[in-house]
Point group: C2
Chain length 135, copies 2
C-alpha cells in the first residue's frame, strides 16, 4: 500500500478539488470554508498547517503566510461520501477571516437581511494584517 | 426592496448552487455538508427546516422527509465572500448521516489511513431508518 492511498480515496470534483470546512478545535466555531487540491491536502497533512488551493490565484495558498494567522491542524476528518474534508485547527492570532474577524461567518440572516453579528467583531484592522511588502 | 434581496446577494456558483455547512447549534458539531439552489435556501428560511438540493437526484431534498431526521433551523449565517452558507440547527433524532451516525464526519486521518472514530458510533441501523415504502 502506498503511503498516499488515503489521498486517492478522496473523490475530487471535476476540477480536481475537494471542499474543506475549517473549525476551531477548542470551541467548535466554524472559521472558514475553502478548497484543496491533492497537493494542498498532502502538504497540509505533511506540514501540519492548513494549505488551501486558491481558485482565484490558481496556486497553493499557505494560510497565514502573510498575516501570520496560520492554522495548526490537530485533526483531519472525512465525510461519508468521501468528498468533503473537515479540519480541526488551532487558529493563530484568533483571526481566520481576511476582514480581521475570528470567523468568516459573521453575517446572520435577521428579518430578511444579512446583518453583521455583534458576536463577531473585527479583532484587528485588515490594513494592519496585510502590509504591502517592500514598503 | 424586495423581501428576497438577501437571496440575490448570494453568489451562486456556475451551477446555480451554494455550499452549505450544517452545524448542531448546541454542541457546534459539524453534522454535514450539502448544496442549495435558490429555491432550497428560500424554502429552508420560509419553513424553518433544512431543504437542500440533491445533485444526484436533481431535485429538492427535504432533509428528514423519509427518516424523520429533520433539521430545525435556528440561525442562518453567510460568509465574507458571500458564497457559503452555515446553518445552525437542532437535529431531530440526533442523526444527520445516512449511515445512522450523528455526523457525516465520522472518519479521521490516523497514521495515513481514514479510520472510523469511536466518538461517532452508529446510533440507528440505516435499514431501520429508511424503510421501503409500500412494503
Amino acid at each position: 500500500m502506498s503511503t498516499n492511498d488515503w489521498l486517492s480515496e478522496v473523490r475530487w470534483n471535476s476540477r480536481g478539488l475537494v471542499p474543506v470546512i475549517t473549525q476551531q478545535a477548542t470551541t467548535g466555531k466554524v472559521l472558514m470554508f475553502a478548497w484543496m487540491n491533492p497537493e494542498a491536502l498532502a502538504t497540509t497533512v505533511k506540514e501540519g498547517y492548513a494549505v488551501y488551493w486558491s481558485r482565484s490565484r490558481k496556486k497553493l495558498w499557505y494560510k497565514g503566510e502573510e498575516s501570520g494567522h496560520q492554522q495548526k491542524v490537530l485533526d483531519v476528518f472525512f465525510d461519508c461520501d468521501e468528498d468533503v474534508v473537515l479540519l480541526k485547527v488551532e487558529q493563530k492570532g484568533g483571526i481566520a477571516c481576511h476582514t480581521g474577524r475570528e470567523s468568516c461567518f459573521f453575517r446572520k440572516l435577521v428579518d430578511g437581511k444579512w446583518r453583521k453579528t455583534h458576536s463577531e467583531p473585527v479583532i484587528k484592522d485588515p490594513k494592519l494584517i496585510y502590509r504591502s511588502k517592500g514598503q
